[in-house]
Symmetry: C2
Amino acid sequence: MSKNRVDTPELRTSSSANLSVVLGLIHEYRTITRSELCQLTGLTRSTVAKLVSTLSDMGFVTESRSGQIDRVGRPSHGVEAADDVLAISVHPEVDYLEVKAVAFNGQIVHSRKKLYPQPIGPDQAVDDMVEAIEGLLQDLKKHSLKFRVLGAGVIVPGQTDAATGVVRQAPHLQWYEFPIKQKLSARLPMRVLIGNDASLGCKAEITYGAAKGSSEVVYLHGSSGIGGGVYMGGKELKGFGGYASELGHVRISSVASDDYSGIPGTLEALVRREDLEKVLGLSQVSDDVLETELLENRTSASTNLAKKQLEALAVAVANFVNIFNPETVVLAGFLSSLYRFDQKYFHMVLKKHALPALLEGLQVFVGELGSNALAIGASEMVFEDLIAEPTKYLKLGA
Amino acid sequence: MSKNRVDTPELRTSSSANLSVVLGLIHEYRTITRSELCQLTGLTRSTVAKLVSTLSDMGFVTESRSGQIDRVGRPSHGVEAADDVLAISVHPEVDYLEVKAVAFNGQIVHSRKKLYPQPIGPDQAVDDMVEAIEGLLQDLKKHSLKFRVLGAGVIVPGQTDAATGVVRQAPHLQWYEFPIKQKLSARLPMRVLIGNDASLGCKAEITYGAAKGSSEVVYLHGSSGIGGGVYMGGKELKGFGGYASELGHVRISSVASDDYSGIPGTLEALVRREDLEKVLGLSQVSDDVLETELLENRTSASTNLAKKQLEALAVAVANFVNIFNPETVVLAGFLSSLYRFDQKYFHMVLKKHALPALLEGLQVFVGELGSNALAIGASEMVFEDLIAEPTKYLKLGA
DNA sequence: GCTATTTGTAGCGCGGTCGAACAAATTAGG
DNA sequence: CCTAATTTGTTCGACCGCGCTACAAATAGC
């Protein structure tokens, strides 16, 4: 306890914080010139040159001789995020397991999917994850010349403790108190990080999607339940234990119907995908089919239900506006279909329940990233770790 | 636009971030030894010595020869936050204006209060503020030898845009779109900052009160309305326009009664101080009187109402728990009386509506700081600015 | 008084960044 | 096609915050 490092204050002594800033910008822009880096960071040309060459030596970025050549003057060198530095996204769901390899430049390189006729337990899921990732890497070795895997990001549809890597509860998977990070990292030659699915979806929409560049974002994803993700000041809202942003379980009504956690009158209890399916005469259909049916086969019964759900959604969003004053609200999953059903009505209800000053500048979007959103979010989790401490990942290769 | 500084990335080139860290710790602990600073920051003795002497030269801290002397070894020098570096808190309310001088070590040095028989407009309020502050400084000059005033923090009971310094709307004061920062700083030889009353109360409780040291805090203050403040990750939740944490306007019920902003079923519409006063046969009494009457003269009518309000409060808090996963919830103003009325019932309802994982480690407190809370919060606003950039305040004196 | 312990102090070195001077690569214009 | 203007890359020297080491100083325990 004598040589312990500080944790309370923000900063200590910087071993080049600017290296992280530059790496982060290169990752964000995917390709950028050195002079643009100078403008964005305020650093001098000499400093940027040194930092970029350091990152290039580390293998995280590549330099090309020509950037854009439309201006007078010597053209600036282009800098690109490496395409052979990979993160693996791991997505266990009720009826499948999907792993994807995502490059540092945002490209999805390769993927594998295994279908499950029936749900499986967490321990067997870990077996399958290891097998799938090893298979994925085998495939890559056949095709690609060289690559490095930095880590794996596991997408958990439930409450996760990211710090310890424990899945607290994932009701749909029927997993409870499962130390997945520990189990996985013991069997894989890479770092393992875990995150909540909605939070990762939010992260992805901020990085490459509908909320790109926004730093105050509320994200709602509807599938079997309703998950939420919040970013404030550019940072994820984590809370004390790391379980924050359970936006589906916010009570907005005094009606009696419960959500799957037994709480009455919540968003999740009032806005239910299966109720929509039922009124449309559907069962277990994809989001696309649901949206088409909802928008094109409007019956009085379906319209009634959709409007009722839309109103509840708008009231909930109004609450989040009053609470967070976000710049961007992103509706994903079947919530985007609901929103498309009657945007005007949504905004009317929203306007009625939110304070005027907090509605200023608010933008409501539907999720842009489809099936790749979660994979990008999961890879982002790994890459953010890389960006924060590039030196930590020096010795990793494959 | 060529020599513009960066604003998007977090850091650029540090002009001693550690100076801020050390100054912040000295302010937080009020008195601390150099060796403790070493342990807390991880910096070496030589570095701490240099930083402290820099701060001492600046006049923000003073060094004493003896710290604690209970251990073996050479005693470490004590470092204290200066008692002659001041911030002025300015608190305009419906029926009074109060200004207080708060020292960098947290002590309230002096105060002045002016009563208003009837509400006044913002322009006349500015006149009174200038007069009151000048009078306050005159008083101080008579008594004290020497002091420096860094800035004034204005406590606004309404929506504020801290960045531009505009009061967007303060319904109780009947002020709307008033650029108070601009008007005040034109007439005062000091920086002027403004903030929302509930957010400042929250800040104060974190600095010296019930939520001391906690970095995930939800604060609710009940007076005529219900205001909220949120700190996450040790930082204030600001939102896009700076209007976040309007927690009183969160809808939790589908009943029809409106709050003062015309939104039905909100916390503020359901938990009303004046309803409590009415059922107790009181009118315009102080918080203390209200609490005494509420707790000691329990009738069936008052119990019914209090329980109804308590339930609404608990549901709202449960929502905030699900949203924020806070470590600490602080109830202030008449909400603390309501909480004391039946804590068990509150926690029962809370438990029913919040997710189990998010309740782990949660602490619910009543506000500790009485009338000085807001003044401390306002001064803290100024001192945080000082701590972030100590060099900015070098040339200021009085 | 002597020792062990802890802290203050002074000097040196390292690393990250800036700044200035010069070279290089492009566009614009004749 | 050649020149001027412009913008960037490159190199080198300097500064500064910070760590490290050695030594002095101040305490408790014996």
